[in-house]
Symmetry: C2
Subunit: 363 residues, 2 copies
Amino acid sequence: MTTPAPSTGSLKLAVIPGDGIGQEVTPEALKVLEVAAPAGVKFEQTGYDLGAERYLATGEVLPDAVLGEIREHDAILLGAVGGKPNDPNLPPGILERGLLLRLRFELDHYVNLRPSRIYPGVASPLSEAVLQGQEVDFVVVREGTEGPYTGNGGALRVGTPAEVATEVSVNTAFGVERVLRDAFARAELRPAKKLTLVHKTNVLVNAGSVWWRLTQEVAAEHPDITVDYMHIDAAMIHMTTNPQRFDVIVTDNLFGDIITDLAAAITGGIGLAASGNVNPDRTAPSMFEPVHGSAPDIAGQQKADPTAAILSAGLLLDHLGHPEAAASIERAVLADLTDRAAGQGAARRTAEIGDAIAARVSG
Amino acid sequence: MTTPAPSTGSLKLAVIPGDGIGQEVTPEALKVLEVAAPAGVKFEQTGYDLGAERYLATGEVLPDAVLGEIREHDAILLGAVGGKPNDPNLPPGILERGLLLRLRFELDHYVNLRPSRIYPGVASPLSEAVLQGQEVDFVVVREGTEGPYTGNGGALRVGTPAEVATEVSVNTAFGVERVLRDAFARAELRPAKKLTLVHKTNVLVNAGSVWWRLTQEVAAEHPDITVDYMHIDAAMIHMTTNPQRFDVIVTDNLFGDIITDLAAAITGGIGLAASGNVNPDRTAPSMFEPVHGSAPDIAGQQKADPTAAILSAGLLLDHLGHPEAAASIERAVLADLTDRAAGQGAARRTAEIGDAIAARVSG
Ligand SMILES: CC(C)[C@H](C(=O)O)[C@@H](O)C(=O)O
Ligand SMILES: CC(C)[C@H](C(=O)O)[C@@H](O)C(=O)O
């Protein structure tokens, strides 16, 4: 995690609204981004039409030329991609591997950042006995370019009773160390200064030993950080019975995928969960997106909550070196959520929520 | 899932109390097993000293001769294995891979069975708004002999900055189909007749397609079963916001490991979670064990709750063809939990809980 000079002037933003509610939440995130941007920063937007709709219409997922163009931007804002569930014309993996993961891998988004916080007034599915009014506020640093997500593996005798299919999790000292360094640097910036490695070292002994060894090594450079370790299965228990104990969690790509959805659930749902696919070295643009999907069932009805997309725009500003602007978005969201908890604006449309948050940022 | 004739007469039971609280909960499970066994069934026990203590004292994990002996039994009851956390003399994986997983693989425990139920009076970490007084009662059928647990993979340039470590998830049509058949058969026996496949087909496309294809194929033979599919990350959300929706969950070895700990957490903790490592074809003995570990921190103090071990003994009886005896254990546990909820016997010792449940079974 480097802290380079803030990006200022005219910044090039690639916008991929995608499918379903992605089309509705993205304009709200842009609305808020616009008003939150500090003086001297202007976003020059280019829209990219990518996702299920384009694939179904043209067979194209992410043409190389489009990827080349996107690469020339300062940052990417993505809504959501994905078609109707079980659409036979859209086999699983096409968009995920071909678009989302391709962007993460090609643009070297090795830090997949997912802050998790129970905002005041937001209902958690956890009981009061668990929460006890204590703060839940942690961040998951999920590795984004390795592990079981590399697409290594294959299949033999497909479709026959003798089929064998493999998935290879690839873990390199190079890849693990860099994400650990980022996670430790983030832990340094937090009051609790705690880092928890989550893995399954007792079964995945090869991958586990790289993660374990490098955690010890990087920890030695951060004597002020309290480091602990938890198996992914045990993490399920702690997350639901004592989530207050977490500060920074660092974990592999697949465990991170799983634990961040659990984190989103216990902190009030994926309607609020933001994420950044970050290239900390800035060799390519980072990408910010809500954790939720395209939700075809409620799409086009202005029913979606744009808060996760808006918070993702905040992460984008933070990444570009504008933490104050990012904080102004978070404060505005917090105020809006407090209003909601007080029963105000219960049935607002997507755009109305965006307007309300934007007004608070500029106000 | 075959339903062979009940095993009667003198049955050979291999008992592996293991480490820590395993030593305390196992005698209680045996106590209850004894009184619950139907007329005409007698358990002839052989104890096996395996686990961290033996390894640390002798360097032995599971000698081939011992495995050979265990194989000659009708069933295995295991307490818990594992030493102190981060003991440098006990590297992660030694006992897990060398003992627990070796038993599961060698004895072909391809069905790892984990019933999950919120018993009346037991506190769940989920809020009343989520639970709404509705029943949570499902079973996870976790594949036990494939997936990322095979120990395939390896490492190159270990300990250097150029290290590469791999873990290979192996998935065969043979292995996936047989566990699916078992899961569908179990769904047939349940009132809700619902089966949910949990996987990550959109990223792990090779493994995912075997699971998906065979689920469709086996489903075609079970037109009365309602089948749905959920990604493992989405399952985190459903499990914490709407666990009532689950009936039978079938999933791979690693996803099953993760989801069953979450299931244990939301149903009141691993003090109550039982499991069976089942060889449905009975080509080798099945093994029954509580989901919890050896809990060195509370070991030797008679503080452990033996309920999970006792319920595991119930699964053992069920597997051997004695569902009525198994049900009598579950009823006794239920009554005991109801007493606890009423504030009775708050500070009972491990053996006192075992006595109370045994008394209810025989009473
Ligand atoms: C859609 C899918 C490829 C993706 C992932 O698994 O990473 C999603 O679940 C996420 O968490 O961003
Ligand atoms: C101890 C470990 C090898 C084991 C597993 O991962 O299967 C445990 O977590 C379990 O769930 O039984």
